[in-house]
């Protein structure tokens, strides 16, 4: 991922998770969370790519993404 660039806004991630969990968040958890999110995105995009190829689409469309989202989320269910 782009080297010179900030990978992600840490505060935002913290806020998102904090809002969803209703808990406080320790200092560096957001890194792990974002790592997790990256893994999720990886699976999601991989599946979506496969789906798009199977569907004969040239580029990844919302259809393929939507189709795959449920599975990807289920994989990352704790």
């Amino acid at each position: 991922m782009a080297p010179g660039q900030k990978l992600y806004p840490r505060a935002t991630v913290k806020k998102i998770v904090k809002a969803h969990s209703g808990c406080n968040i320790s200092k560096n958890v957001d890194v792990m969370i974002f790592l997790d999110y990256m893994l999720f995105m990886q699976t999601l995009m991989k599946e979506a790519t496969i789906e798009a190829k199977q569907g004969g689409e040239k580029c990844i469309t919302s259809r393929s993404v939507r189709k795959v989202t449920g599975d990807a989320l289920a994989k990352f269910k704790g």
């Binding site: 935002t12 406080n24 990256m38 790519t49 990844i60």
Partner: protein, 519 residues
Amino acid sequence: MARESHPPRPSAGTGTGTSALPTAAATATTTPSRRAVSTDAIPPSTAARTLTPGSHHTLPRFAAGLSASARKQPGPSATPHARAAFRTINSQRAAAVNTPHRQGAGGRRRSARELRETPRNFLLPLGRVLARNTEVIVSSSSATKGGRGEDTVLEEEEGGYDDEEEEEELPKRPRLSLPIDEDEDDDDDLRPHRSAGLEDENFTMQSIEMPRRAYSEQPSRLSMGSMRYSDFGDGLGVLAEVGEDVGIDSGFFPPMEGIDEGNFELEEMPLFERSELDIARRETLVRDSDFEFEVPLGMDENTVVLAPQIGESPVRQPEDHDEPEPMLHSRSGADDSSVADGDAGGFSSGAEDVDVDVGVEQEEVTAKSAAKRPAKKKTTKMSKYGIEYPSLPQGVVKRLATTFAKTSGAKGKITPDALKAIMQASDWFFEQVGDDLQAYAKHAHRKTIEESDMLTLMKRYVLFLYMNGYLRTGSQMTPFALAQRHLPRELLQDLRMTPPVPLKKRRKTGGDAEDEDVT
């Protein structure tokens, strides 16, 4: 087809055994108890009898038993419509009673049938005579009895099925007269059934369920306020009106707010703090905090209803005594909400008292909430804890998505709507992660989510086994190795500073993978 299958079932189900099976004639001669059983088979048969001209042919054969004659008219049932109708009827009966349709229906019918049976004996000859006449009339419209043109057959069947259904309710009579007179009326009633049967059972199921959902939605809205409204409403009409307003608003406003807040701006600390304050305040008040919290846009009243009750509880007590009202029990809900009032206040507290309080404080609260609103509008979404949260900036998501799409071999771009879907997915993901982490932290009796929670969460993924396939390291994938792979160094440093002990453990187990990855 269908009709032939019917008669054996009841006998088997009731346990009469072989004797019932052979023919209806045999059953007719058997003992009364068996007759009752055999009569189960009758309804379809009787219906069929009235239905079609074919019944003539069968009648002479089995003079002894009606049921037999009725059964013997397979012709009409053979048509697809007839089968469908049978199915629908059977399914309806089956649905009505959980037990196999035979038994369930049999149980019902027996009672009715025994009543019928006596008149039947007299009516049999009548029926045969009349049936011939009626049949001639019906069939005369189109096809002859023998030919059984499908059109006529269908119509007749419809009438017949109506008859069958009505049999349950009405005595035999209607059947005989129906084919002529009642066909028209019955058709109106029947059409829904017929269509349902042909299309599938689903239609009926849906039609049943749809109202349920709609119905359930309404109460859910009301339910938010129900603890107050219903309770107060019993006491006073005025309060009920207030409650309704609140309920409607509460139902409508949260979505409104979401719409209004379409633009998301990066979060600012002041916003966040405010939201927390609100939550804390509301939690202290009542459980409904979530709803009210969302409401603030238009809904001053919601907050008003709850806040004043507790806040002014001391004031009420004197007033309560002044106005004794009979509605003690109905106000139990009010007592709950206004427990602070004190025991005495709770009993005699008039709905009016509450009303007054609400009215007074509504204005105050509106002023307060009005001041807060503009700040809240900036937020995009509301979590279930009533905390506003932004979504990840689209640029970040897009960058991640494109890189991962490339690595996974996609050539084309990601369409904008696909990106929207991805954003949506990532929102869901964070929501899920938040829930899971919260569960872990709660389990550990912590109020803070720590790295260990995240590690347990990641360990729990079956995903890691799955990922072994396409991550080049064959050995176990540890979160740490993954971090090495994906995260830039600054972030890794943060990670390493985190608990050293678990890290060492992890290195031992997944050391190979790590080394490979790192190098």
